[in-house]
Amino acid sequence: MIREERTPQSEKAAPHSGPCIVSEGLGAWYGSLQALRNISMSILAKRVTAVIGPSGCGKSTFIRCLNRMHEVVPAARVSGKVLLDGEDVYAPGVDPVEVRRRVGMVFQKPNPFPTMSVFDNVAAGLKLNGLRAPGGLAERVEKALRQAALWDEVKDKLKQGGAALSGGQQQRLCIARALAVEPEVLLMDEPCSSLDPIATARIEDLVRELCDRYTIVIVTHNMQQAARVSDMTAFFLMGQDRAGELIEYGETQQVFTNPKDERTEAYITGRFG
């Protein structure tokens, strides 16, 4: 089923594109529990990279390491390197706040700020950072909402609360919110897992459009989704001690049609996971 699916985006991926984020020997812990071991992979600029694998294999932990959100959890720590445009984001003296401005994130559950209007939600990243938007805040908000394919639906209710929107709209609002600070990379942690198929399709279309301008890393449980939206696919699996490991990483078409590792094949053909 998956093998027959059209993956036109892989054709686009063919011309070489430079790495944007490179992880080198990345390990992550929650207290004494190791969640990731020795992840080394380079994520290509302006491509969509899907991270797939069974529950608990460290997919989310991995992308949270990329923008230093992992350390927000108490007792969490990281080893190894994450190079963003060649600079280690874990080097001493690097401000995690600065990293997160360059690497935006969309979460599993839509989480627009409940006390803010639609407009303020999108403007939050700029306003609360005290950043000035050249051309004005309103223009930047409109641009972000247009990029997130939400402008037409909310242009008349910018003053209303963000929580009044539908689930799919809320998630696109969160995408707009992340885009408004103009990051280089957008990390998406199962962005469709709480949405219905129609809302999911809209987000997937959006991901394809956005990869012209942004480097996107999307974690998904849904293998068809990975096949549909991504150029590159990384397959993670839990090791013996429950630490996540990178099993296979390559062009999506190759990973889905001709996996090099038998565990990848077993997973994508649905024999486990």
Binding site: M69, N129, R177
Partner: protein, 281 residues
């Protein structure tokens, strides 16, 4: 699965009984409030007029007179105590909720113990550390005593309310590259605002009725507000003095003052809620 008719009937009956019990309990809770307010009103009705609010006390035997000094005194005391207690409580609660750690659990324990300390003990404490050195009873020492009573209540409710703000909102804000202090100020506090206001109002209502600590600190003053370093009158103090007196007219005035006190707390509470709701848009 379909339950048998008998099981079904039993479940229905249990359901009705439990709903009825809940209803009765609610009625009892609200009923007590109505009884207290109603009885107070009934007993004090003879004195409840505009003069009671605008006039000062008359000598015993003269009819009329009012509680102007006491009302002003209570407003000054409660206002000053809130100005001292609420900001400190808010910051302490923020620390407990957002930074806490091991120090936090110690602070939390201390705050809980402080909540349980009888207010009369707080009064004696302030008498020793403030009234004695100052050489006089004063509005300031009264306010400090009330603020101490207020502090742990505000701190703990602020903490609890801020903890109720889901972690996902903090993460969303942090992931936008917003510094942590700004996340707390602009995302967590607004999310917890309604609860924080409610908690602060409860604390305020509690100190507005405190009598014991004021005996050792504010003392009372029949001649009106004379500065923060002078003794000051307060409604609960006057209610207590009048209530333990042997005179019927004073008893009535005590009832009327008690009703006034309840109304004062109610008005402040409604006003603050209205203001915060209005500011939130």
């Amino acid at each position: 699965m379909i339950a048998s008719a008998r099981t079904h009937a039993r479940r229905k009956a249990t359901n009705y009984i439990m709903i009825a019990l809940c209803g009765l309990a609610t009625l009892a809770a609200v009923g007590v409030l109505l009884l207290v307010v109603g009885y107070t009103l009934l007993q004090g009705i003879a004195y409840l007029n505009l003069g009671f609010v605008t006039q000062t006390a008359r000598p015993l035997g003269e009819p009329g007179g009012g509680m102007r000094h006491e009302i002003v005194g209570t407003i000054v005391l409660v206002g000053l105590a809130s100005a001292l207690g609420i900001p400190v409580g808010l910051l302490a609660g923020t620390y407990l909720s957002e930074f806490g750690g091991r120090v936090g659990s110690v602070v939390r324990l201390v705050a809980d113990v402080l909540t349980g300390i009888p207010s009369v003990v707080v009064g004696i404490f302030v008498y020793v550390v403030l009234v004695r050195p100052m050489g006089t009873f004063s509005a300031l020492s009264g306010a400090v005593a009330l603020a101490i009573i207020m502090l742990p209540v505000v701190a703990r409710t602020t903490e609890e309310m801020m903890k109720l703000v889901p972690q996902t909102y903090r993460e969303a804000a942090l992931a936008l590259g917003i510094p942590r202090w700004r996340v707390i100020v602009s995302v967590v506090v607004p999310g917890a605002m309604v609860g924080i206001v409610t908690g602060s109002m409860l604390a305020l209502a509690r100190i507005a009725g405190e009598t014991a600590p004021l005996i050792f600190t504010a003392l009372g003053n029949r001649f009106g507000f004379a500065g923060l370093d002078e003794p000051i009158a307060a409604l609960p103090l006057q209610i207590w003095r009048y209530a333990v007196s042997p005179y019927d007219t004073w008893h009535q005035q005590a009832w009327a003052a008690a009703f006034l006190l309840v109304m004062l707390v109610l008005v402040i509470s409604v006003l603050v809620r209205w203001l915060t709701a209005w500011r939130r848009g």
